[in-house]
């Protein structure tokens, strides 16, 4: 919804942000936790930075850096700020979902939304094993550090050496994961798995869920219409 807002709809963004702050506060996260956490995503908006220089409407300044001639346009700036604000808010929304909903509920929801079962299973396995894999990686790193002479960061020598060691570790992590996957498959087979995942039908999309979904979608559409037709823009 956020990314569909028209360029420069500052008021719509601010209003969305206020709603998010309210949600964050009612979810017991503290009003600004999401806003702060979402800052980590801002470096990715650097990808939109060239917009400032590549749009040639309403030029407000010329920069001459030796042979390079750059024009800064206010239209480009507006687009850049829109993308930045939009991604910052979108990340906050994703974080709100992640902070407030247990992962297995998300997986159940994906299944109910008829995402292919194999994808749902992959996501669920990924979530289960990412911590195990992380543990294995950190044990290997510790073992590397324990056997590397010297102290402090970047122990044990040149960048080239460290890169070599890291490469080998990635390889061995892959092998370990592969072997683990074989063991997991054996464990699944031992409990009757024959290639098809089954799930309890306990959590179905009910009437109230459909109602909530409809209200939400209607609100989004209305908000977009408002933002396009009525709310002031920069």
């Amino acid at each position: 919804m956020i990314s569909l807002l028209p360029v420069g709809s500052a008021v719509a963004f601010i209003f969305a942000w206020l709603v998010l702050i309210a949600c964050s506060a009612t979810a017991g996260l503290g009003p600004f936790r999401l806003s702060r956490a979402a800052v980590v995503a801002l470096p990715f908006t650097l990808a939109a930075l060239p917009l400032i220089f590549t749009v040639h409407e309403q030029v407000i300044a010329d920069l001459v850096l030796g042979p390079v001639h750059l024009t800064i346009s206010s239209e480009g700036l507006r687009r850049f700020l829109t993308i930045t604000a939009g991604s910052w808010l979108s990340v906050q929304i994703a974080l709100l979902l992640a902070f407030t909903t247990p992962f297995h509920d998300l997986v159940d929801a994906l299944r109910e939304l008829h995402l292919p079962r194999i994808l749902v299973s992959i996501i669920s396995f990924m979530y289960r094993y990412i911590a195990v894999l992380g543990d294995e990686a950190s044990r290997m790193l510790r073992a590397r550090d324990a056997r590397s002479a010297g102290a402090g960061r970047g122990t044990g020598g040149s960048l080239r050496w460290r890169a070599t060691v890291t490469g080998r570790m990635v390889g061995s992590l892959f092998l370990r994961s592969y072997e683990r996957s074989e063991r997991i498959y054996a464990a699944m087979q031992a409990r009757g798995f024959e290639g098809e995942f089954r799930h309890l039908g306990a959590r179905r999309v009910g009437r109230s869920d459909l109602f909530a979904l409809t209200v939400m979608l209607a609100t989004f559409v209305l908000y977009e219409v408002l933002a396009f037709l009525w709310l002031p823009r920069l």
Binding site: H104, S124, Y127, V132, R180, I184, A187, R191, F193
Partner: protein
């Protein structure tokens, strides 16, 4: 696999007369009358790389027996255990579980009768929540939802992990994960339980809890372990394996007293 059809007569000839007394009350007259039994005859197994892991194993487990499987690493213990639920199938010889020869047509039934618990609970627990994991077996046996819920509740109660249904496996201690791993097979109501190294890595308290659990189980129990104190405490019968064959099989007390036997196979008395 190759000898499945030939062995019905053989199995019945070997069946001990007392089996009927221990058998499941409603399972008369069909293969289920031998619930809890395992029989291996001349089992050989060769891995695809040519390594012969089992070189002719003969073994019989009676209902409710608690048997320890000991021997050095690489003796073939794990390979033997994987034969019992058909994950691996013998290159030669037969494996009969609850009176059924293990093979393609019987594999479903065999796997629902044999609960195999792997050494690393991270291999055993692959679902996002404890509930999902314990429900996996019953669900894939095709049981109705209400029965699955009942089984999960019972299994978690049996291992003292009620209330953990919605916990995430990777946020629990090793001892807790091992207990849940046991629940994941108990929920399938197997008559035979096969554990690989259940006490490895457990702290003393976790180990005591495990011993209590093992002692309380009524199923046929085959447990591979290096923990000789565990063997002495829980298992009346011990099988010693080395080099892919069974080198001794008898009362635990006698075997553990045989210093020469233990030394010859890299074991130590508790």
């Amino acid at each position: 696999m190759t000898t499945i059809d030939t062995d019905h007569a053989h199995v019945h000839a070997h069946m001990h007369p007392e089996v009927g007394e221990h058998a499941h009350p409603h399972d008369h007259g069909d293969p289920g009358a031998a619930r809890g039994t395992v029989e291996m005859t001349h089992v050989h197994f060769r891995y695809p790389d040519g390594f012969e892991a089992l070189g002719g194993v003969d073994l019989r487990l009676d209902p409710g027996e608690k048997v320890a499987l000991v021997g050095p690493n690489g003796a073939g213990k794990s390979t033997l255990m994987l034969q019992i639920n058909g994950t691996l199938q013998p290159s030669h010889g037969t494996v009969t579980v609850v009176g059924l020869p293990v093979g393609k047509t019987t594999i479903r039934r065999v796997r629902s009768e044999v609960g195999l618990v792997f050494q690393d609970p991270d291999d055993q627990l692959f679902s996002p929540t404890v509930f999902d994991d314990v429900a996996f077996g019953p669900l894939h046996m095709g049981l109705p939802d209400a029965e699955v819920h009942r089984r999960v509740e019972q299994a978690l109660a049996a291992v003292g992990m009620r209330g953990f249904e919605h916990r995430l496996p990777h946020r629990m201690s090793l001892g807790q994960r091992k207990r849940v791993a046991l629940a994941t097979v108990l929920s399938m109501d197997p008559s035979i339980l096969v554990f690989d190294e259940p006490s490895a890595g457990l702290d003393p308290r976790g180990r005591r809890e495990l011993i209590g659990l093992l002692q309380g189980l009524t199923q046929t129990l085959l447990v591979s372990t290096h923990d000789m104190r565990l063997v002495a405490e829980v298992f009346p019968r011990t099988i010693v394996m080395d080099g892919g064959v069974i080198v001794a099989d008898g009362a635990t007390a006698q075997l553990l007293a045989d210093q020469r036997l233990l030394e010859a196979h890299g074991l130590e008395a508790p």
